[in-house]
Symmetry: C2
Subunit: 181 residues, 2 copies
DNA sequence: TGGCTCATGTAATCTGTTACATGATTCT
DNA sequence: AGAATCATGTAACAGATTACATGAGCCA
C-alpha cells in the first residue's frame, strides 16, 4: 500500500481507462503524458507489483505471438483509492527547468552561450509542438469527446504553453543581441 | 566532488554572484528561483560541505548580533567547475504538474472536481504573478541591467507562462461547463 | 545476420525530503 | 511572554534513475 507514491496514482489512473502492461505504461509516459509526468521502468514495474499486493490491481499473464506479457487491471478498491486521491487538492507542481537555471547564471559566461541554451530549448519545443496540435485536432474531430475531453485539455495546455515558450525565446534572444551592441 | 548533482551547480552559481549563507540560499530559492528550481535545507547544507571539501567553496564563520553564520564564497576552481557546466547543454527540464496529472484522470470523478482543480491552480498562479511583474519593472528601471539581465529574462519567462496558464484556465473551465449542458 | 522493438525485471546507487534537534534574537 | 524569524545541521527514510540481465520476434 503505497503511502503517497504519486506513480501509484498515475498507474491506477491509466488502469482505470483500460487494462495495460508496464511496457505500455512507459510508452504512454513517453508520448501523451510527456508534457507533465515521467517515470522509468525501474519505478513502474515495482509499483505494479505493490499495487497488486495491495489489492488495487490484478495481473493476467498472457502470451501473444510467443511474447509473454502481463496485463494489469484495476480492482474496485483500486478505483476507490484513485478516486480519493482525485478528490484531494494537488499538493505541488514540481518544475525544474535546467535550461532556466543555466540561463540564470549565464552572466558568468558569454552571451553567445546564453543564446545557444535558448536555441536548444527552442528546437526541442518546436519539435514537440506539432504532436500537441495534432492531438487537439483529433480530439476536436470526434465530439462528443467525453472520454478524451481531459486529454484535450492537457494537450491544449501544452500547445499554449509551448507557443508562449517560443515567443519568449524570440524576445529573449533579441534582448541578448541588443545588449551586445 | 559531486558528480552531477545539479544543486551543487545551483549553489556555485549563487556563490558566483556573491558570498552567501545556506539559509540565504533557501530564501533565494523560495523567491527568485521559485519559478524553476527548489531544494530543501536537507540538501543545501550537505552540498555546501561537499563543495568546500572539494575545494570549490570556502567558508567563513562569523558572528553578527550574537548570531552565528557561515558565509560561503566560491573559489577559482569552483568558478571553473561552474563554467564548464554552464557551457554544457541542459540535459532535461523535469516538469511534474500534479495538477495536470489529476485533471487528466478526472473522467473518473465529476466535472466539478476538475473545475476545482483548475481553480486552485488559477489562484496559486494569480497570487504569484504580481511578484514577477514587479521584478521585471525593477529590472527595466535600472539599465544598463547587465548584472540582472538574466534575472529579467527568467522573470519574463515566468510572467508570460503564468499569463498563458491563466488564459488556459478560463478556456478549460468554459469547455467543461459547456460539456455539462 | 544484425539491429530494433517488444517485454519484464532487479541491484546498486543516487538524490532528496521530512522531521527533528538546538538555540539565539527580534517582533508584537 | 510568546511567536516568528534567523541559523545550522543530521538521521531516517522515500523515491527514482541507471545500468544491467535476459530473451523472443520482426524487419531489412
Amino acid at each position: 500500500m503505497p503511502n503517497e507514491n504519486k506513480n501509484a496514482y498515475l498507474i491506477l489512473g491509466l488502469l482505470s481507462h483500460n487494462p495495460i502492461t508496464g511496457y505500455e505504461i512507459k510508452k504512454v509516459l513517453n508520448t501523451t503524458l510527456k508534457l507533465f509526468w515521467n517515470a522509468s521502468y525501474g519505478s513502474i514495474y515495482p509499483t505494479l507489483s505493490t499495487l497488486e499486493k495491495s489489492g488495487f490491481a490484478v495481473s493476467d499473464k498472457t502470451e501473444e505471438n510467443g511474447r509473454e506479457k502481463i496485463i494489469y487491471s484495476i480492482t474496485e478498491s483500486g478505483r476507490e483509492y484513485l478516486k480519493e486521491w482525485l478528490q484531494t487538492p494537488a499538493v505541488k507542481d514540481e518544475l525544474k527547468y535546467e535550461t532556466l537555471l543555466k540561463l540564470f547564471f549565464c552572466s558568468d559566461v558569454s552571451e553567445e552561450e546564453a543564446i545557444e541554451h535558448i536555441e536548444r530549448f527552442e528546437e526541442k519545443i518546436s519539435a514537440e509542438l506539432p504532436y500537441l496540435e495534432k492531438s487537439i485536432e483529433i480530439c476536436k474531430a470526434q465530439p462528443p469527446f467525453d472520454k478524451h475531453k481531459y486529454f484535450m485539455l492537457t494537450a491544449m495546455f501544452g500547445k499554449e504553453v509551448y507557443e508562449t515558450y517560443l515567443k519568449w525565446c524570440e524576445e529573449a534572444k533579441k534582448i541578448l543581441r541588443e545588449g551586445k551592441d
